[in-house]
Symmetry: none
Subunit: 307 residues, 2 copies
DNA sequence: ATTCTTTATTGTCAAAATGACAATAATTAA
DNA sequence: TTAATTATTGTCATTTTGACAATAAAGAAT
């Protein structure tokens, strides 16, 4: 009655056909003839009593129930592969390829400098760092650890807080002597603003006035997603800029910019828990290479940037 | 390199051994000799490179990593079984999204009124009705059942005849008293015609005279793809109209129009089998939602419109 | 419309994996 | 020490899967 069939193999074939959209391409991935996939998937369909794929000689696409099934089993299969990897790498040393995904700015400023040291510590780990501000789903992508602003996407993923990401206002000394130093949020109307454009839009200045969030943005001098161009303008005294502390810090240290102390405080998001998080799959934490990277990054970042 | 092993079966054996604490008891659960479990689990351990179980002749218990592995895969296996169950139940009960494509006129007049009842009968089927006179290819489009005039496009599609679609001549009483009632096809030359324009052109009046098809159209008063406008004109007595019976019927019932009995009979197509067909794909596995819709529509239509 | 090309399926046979049954080894209880 | 239970192993039969050629079908090109 029950299946006389290697269902797992059939599922791997099925998933590959869905992802490549072709029996031939999927067969190449396993180095077997397409007929094998055709047979195994036909058996799978037979055991389920359903057509999963709509085939024609040119195009293969999913049936309604096939799509549903694919969504479920593709996740299940990667989970299983993860479990296998955990066992295989049990009591093994950190090694292999490690994919890290990070926001561009954070990657360039903070992550990559750390990774040089990581490389020395774990020479058997080959790093594959991908910098992008697009959020990836982590789990469907082949990413071991990811660094993102915001919150954890779902509960299957662990989000380890790395550092705050509050945007702070800053300006150069020349600007402040010329325009005066604002102390109150309402005074900002008479100042000039340099606005950083995130992937989700420009970052307006917000202020919690008596429990009401209000936009207290100063008139704009420039808006850009090019952070350095804006910082340059700020240093030249063209306006007030709001950026995360970890970007501002070197300029503050050199005295090129100084933080503004505004009351009530202004931010760019209504959520105070806005921060940078390190994301990884819970089950993969026991894979030595992943554990090594997670532990290394969190301890180093928290030590060097304790805010 | 990769496992030449039915891992899923091995996992089921493994889980059973863990849960029963015994190879023999677990083997009984599958009705196979204990040696099978022993072999499969040994293969599994070999492919993972770790011992999962600590065996002795009296007790079987888990190693540390075996426990970790068990915790993960037991959950994964039940997830997979659930997915299988979802697909199997999809085959058992009419459910899911059902896309119906129909000609506009037929859809508005006949199909949609029926579908309200269908909705009550099968609340788990979500209908998505698309009305259009463009022929869709059915199969390339995501259409489960389609209603079209004409014939079956190819043999992978089943065409179930719903009702005749012969165009019949009709006119109002006022027209006939004024212009006379034509009995012979040749007399039509002295009458007036109202012509319905199908997507493939206006529908000329044809007649089989001694084995020769001839155009016996009356001089045109109006040509349009707007059926109601033409019917209106016919009722006002402006000419003879040819339309399918299922459109004419309500006007005949109310006495606003009456059929003409012309010899030899005139039609708009040379093929006498011209009818309205319900089309659906021949599938290897029966999809209940499709079967439900096909059966429902054919029985209802044939009962209510038995011509 | 017709031909050409690509691609999935099917037939047939070989190879591999799994199951069955008996025999063996090992551990624990008596 | 002995007896009994139980996992493992040897050997062979069965079943499943893979390989390769041939076929059929559908889209693309002309």
């Amino acid at each position: 009655m029950e299946n006389r069939l290697d269902q797992l193999k059939a599922l791997k074939y099925f998933v590959a056909v869905v992802e490549t959209g072709s029996f031939t391409k999927a067969a190449a991935r396993f180095s077997v003839p397409p007929s094998s996939l055709s047979r195994r998937i036909a058996d799978l369909e037979s055991s389920l009593g359903s057509n999963l794929l709509k085939r024609s000689t040119r195009v293969v696409n999913l049936t309604e129930i096939g799509r549903e099934y694919y969504n479920q089993v593709s996740k299940t299969i990667t989970e299983l592969e993860n479990s296998n990897e955990v066992v295989r790498s049990y009591q093994a040393k950190p090694m292999g390829q490690l994919r890290i995904s990070s926001m561009v700015g954070f990657g360039e400023k903070i992550l990559l400098p750390l990774l040089d040291e990581f490389n020395n510590l774990y020479p058997d780990i080959i790093l594959d760092v991908h910098l992008s501000d697009q959020l990836s789903t982590l789990g469907h992508d082949d990413v071991d650890v990811a660094i993102r602003g915001g919150y954890a996407p779902n509960e299957r993923v662990i989000a380890q807080r790395l550092m705050g990401n509050q945007f702070l206002p800053a300006a150069s000394a020349s600007y402040l002597t010329r325009m005066g130093t604002p102390r109150n949020a309402m005074q900002l109307q008479d100042h000039k603003g340099l606005y950083y454009r995130t992937p989700t839009g420009p970052t307006a200045w917000l202020c919690d006035l008596d429990g009401q969030w209000q936009d207290v943005s100063a008139p704009a001098v420039a808006i850009s997603n090019g952070g350095y161009w804006l910082i340059d303008k700020a240093i030249k005294g063209e306006g007030i800029i709001m950026l995360p502390r970890w970007i501002l810090q070197p300029y503050l240290d050199r005295g090129e910019l100084q933080l503004l102390d505004i009351h009530p405080p202004i931010t760019t998001t209504q959520n105070p828990a806005f921060a940078i998080y390190l994301l990884y799959q819970k089950q993969r934490y026991h894979v030595p290479k992943v554990k090594a990277a997670v532990d290394f990054i969190t301890t180093r970042v928290k030590h060097q940037y304790p805010y």
